[in-house]
């Protein structure tokens, strides 16, 4: 697949064309923040954004989605087969999606998620502006090399556009204003990416991401978990905004006829009370300290063990801003552990 460049006008035209024929979701401003939403005009697209409130995961694993419909005793699986284009995915969010792709396709193939993933065309873009709490540079997630169909890098009047799939190639083929990316364009892109690898770093992790599982190996009984547990409200916001959280609950809804209805899955969070509670009242992970620990271990050790070592915190910084009591920042936790117990063997 190739790397080309496309004029900004050409790209706007491409988006307008897509809006006319399919569902296009893109990053737009909302107050002084940014969100993914249905795009009505290319003029509303804000590829210069810093971070969105919620990650783009919500288009693949929806906050509430129908898994099945039932009528009497008959069940029928429901799949969402609408094609859509998702524009503006930052590298760290792309990497989070790539991770969930693995988790939802391995072992037991989740076709509800995977079909949405197949129906999507993803236009990613390199970060143009660092958000307040991003630490992707620390996590090695400031740039991305796979998962997208097209990756854009803003180099002034043009975007460098790398297509990684047939879908992406075809789409660029339709656009106007596309030309060969010259050496200087590629250099300009490389410069931006190299800078992002250093500068998307508002919180600096004191070790390599690959050293985190080893660090956690030794931190299970550290006092920090109790300290944080005392401050946590158990509100689940840190789960809610996280691009790599993928736990869910399942609920049935019955129609007026009391016969037919839907079985839905809805986002759930391991910080919430009741997440592990069974009939009879026994709760397996009752203390907040244990739940905070679980979140950090899941991101830094358990999920990595399932997906080949990649750390399941991509440094988007959303949880840092979402936590009212300012305890969710993974870097602060890791750095404290490094300080207290060190990373060596």
């Amino acid at each position: 697949m190739g790397i080309k460049k496309i004029s900004k006008d050409g790209f706007s035209g491409l988006i307008e064309g897509l809006i006319a024929e399919t569902t296009v979701i893109g990053v737009q401003s909302k107050g002084d923040k940014f969100v993914y939403d249905l795009l009505g005009s290319s003029a509303n697209l804000r590829l210069d954004y810093d971070v969105t409130i919620l990650p783009p995961k919500k288009y693949f694993l929806q906050p509430a989605e129908i898994l099945l419909r039932f009528d009497g005793e008959k069940y029928e699986a429901e799949f969402d087969d609408e094609e859509f284009v998702l524009v503006g995915v930052h590298p760290y969010d792309m990497i989070a999606i790539n991770q969930i792709d693995k988790l939802y396709s391995e072992d037991n193939f989740d076709s509800h998620y995977m079909r949405r993933r197949e129906n999507a065309t993803v236009i990613a873009c390199d970060v143009a502006r660092a958000s307040e709490n991003v630490f992707a540079s620390s996590m090695g997630t400031a740039t991305v090399s796979e998962g997208f169909d097209i990756l854009l890098t803003d180099i002034g009047d043009f975007y460098v556009a790398e297509s990684a799939t047939d879908k992406g190639e075809k789409l660029l083929g339709k656009a106007e204003g596309v030309s060969t990316a010259e050496d200087e364009d590629l250099k300009a892109r490389e410069k931006i990416q190299e800078e992002n690898k250093k500068n998307l770093n508002k919180h600096k992790l004191g070790c390599k991401p690959s050293e985190l599982p080893g660090l956690l190996e030794k931190a299970y009984n550290h006092p920090i978990w109790e300290e944080l547990g005392k401050k946590c409200f158990s509100c689940g916001s840190c789960n809610q905004v996280c691009p790599t959280c993928y736990c869910f609950n399942v609920q049935d809804e019955v129609n007026w006829d009391l016969k037919s209805g839907t079985r839905k899955r809805v986002w759930d969070g391991c910080l919430l009370d009741g997440f592990t509670k069974v009939a009879g009242g026994h709760e397996f992970r009752k203390s907040r300290a244990d739940r905070i620990k679980h979140r950090i271990y899941r991101k830094g050790k358990y999920v990595p063990e399932k997906i080949g070592g990649e750390i399941a915190c991509v440094g988007c910084g959303r949880c840092v801003g979402a936590c009212l009591t300012d305890i969710a920042n993974p870097v602060k936790i890791y750095n404290r552990l490094i300080e207290d117990i060190g990373i060596g063997k």
Binding site: F70, Y75, A77, D107, D110, S111, Q251, R263, G280, R298
Partner: protein, 278 residues
């Protein structure tokens, strides 16, 4: 229907028909079911998700042995929404089934020739019964079988006539205890560990299988330690909240293990490295 995995949902229940039902006591319902399409193939220790449209699903252990050829059996305690709805099912009714799930890690082949001790607390007898019946169907391949069964009250006992049938078999011994005895009770009195404490032979080479409420395990493990049983000879059948059964929803996780896909039966030597397990 095409066979593409993309066209199938791992959350889609298949229909089964209730062939037989009876109440075993006040709260526990016995069901014998058969799948409407084909046979459910399973191993001792596996479970199914039972689905009631409009209410939800509940993970329920398979209580019959795979050696049985007339469907499969479940025993359901009435404790909440889904289990209440399951209790309303009548013979001939349809119910949704997904599974079987879990690895069903009873070491069916590894323990051949060994003495087996089953420690069952209350409804913990239900999953164990699958392996017990499997062992009894292949009697010659296993050593002495001891079954401990403890309930709070006499009224909560399960499969009482089956237990006394088993007790009559050569090389099988059944011992029962209740927390609160009543007139005419001939078994032991006290929690299940009383039965373990009273074992008067060397059980270091026996294989132990335990299933019961979460609080039971700590005490059973202590009692077994007294008897010098090694961790590798002990298997525990764990319960957790489950919302999917297929390793996705996250509810059943204990440290880096998922009880639904890695268990629910675990060797205690493995559980020792899982602080959230017991």
């Amino acid at each position: 229907m095409s066979g593409r995995r993309e066209d199938r949902s791992i959350y889609q229940p298949e229909l089964a028909t209730v062939r037989d039902r009876k109440m075993l006591n006040e709260t526990e319902l016995y069901l014998r079911l058969s799948m409407d399409s084909g046979v459910l193939e399973y191993k001792p220790g596996q479970f199914v998700e039972v689905s009631v449209a409009g209410i939800g699903e509940a993970p329920i252990s398979i209580s019959s042995s795979p050696t049985a050829d007339d469907g499969f059996e479940l025993v359901i305690r009435r404790v909440g929404n889904v289990t209440n709805a399951i209790h309303k099912l009548q013979t001939g009714d349809k119910v949704g089934i997904r599974g079987p799930y879990g690895k069903g890690l009873y070491p069916v082949d590894e323990v051949k020739g060994k003495d087996l001790i089953f420690i069952c607390g209350g409804i913990g007898l239900v999953p164990q019964r699958s392996f017990i019946k499997y062992v009894l169907a292949n009697r010659g391949e296993y050593g002495q079988v001891t079954i401990f069964f403890g309930t709070k009250t006499v009224a909560q006992r399960l499969f009482a006539s089956e237990l006394s049938e088993w007790d009559k078999l050569e090389g099988v011994e059944v011992k029962e205890t209740v927390d609160k005895p009543e007139e005419g009770w001939g078994g032991e009195v006290g929690v299940i560990t009383t039965l373990i404490d009273k074992i008067d032979k060397d059980i270091r080479d026996a294989m132990i299988f335990a299933c019961g409420p979460p609080v039971m395990y700590k005490f059973v493990l202590l009692a077994l330690e007294e008897k010098k049983v090694k961790a590798k000879n002990i298997y525990l059948n764990l319960e957790r909240k489950m919302k999917c059964g297929v390793g996705k929803c996250g509810h059943c996780q204990m440290n880096n293990y998922y009880v639904c896909i890695d268990g629910p039966v675990f060797c205690y030597s493995k559980l020792k490295d899982i602080p959230e397990a017991i």
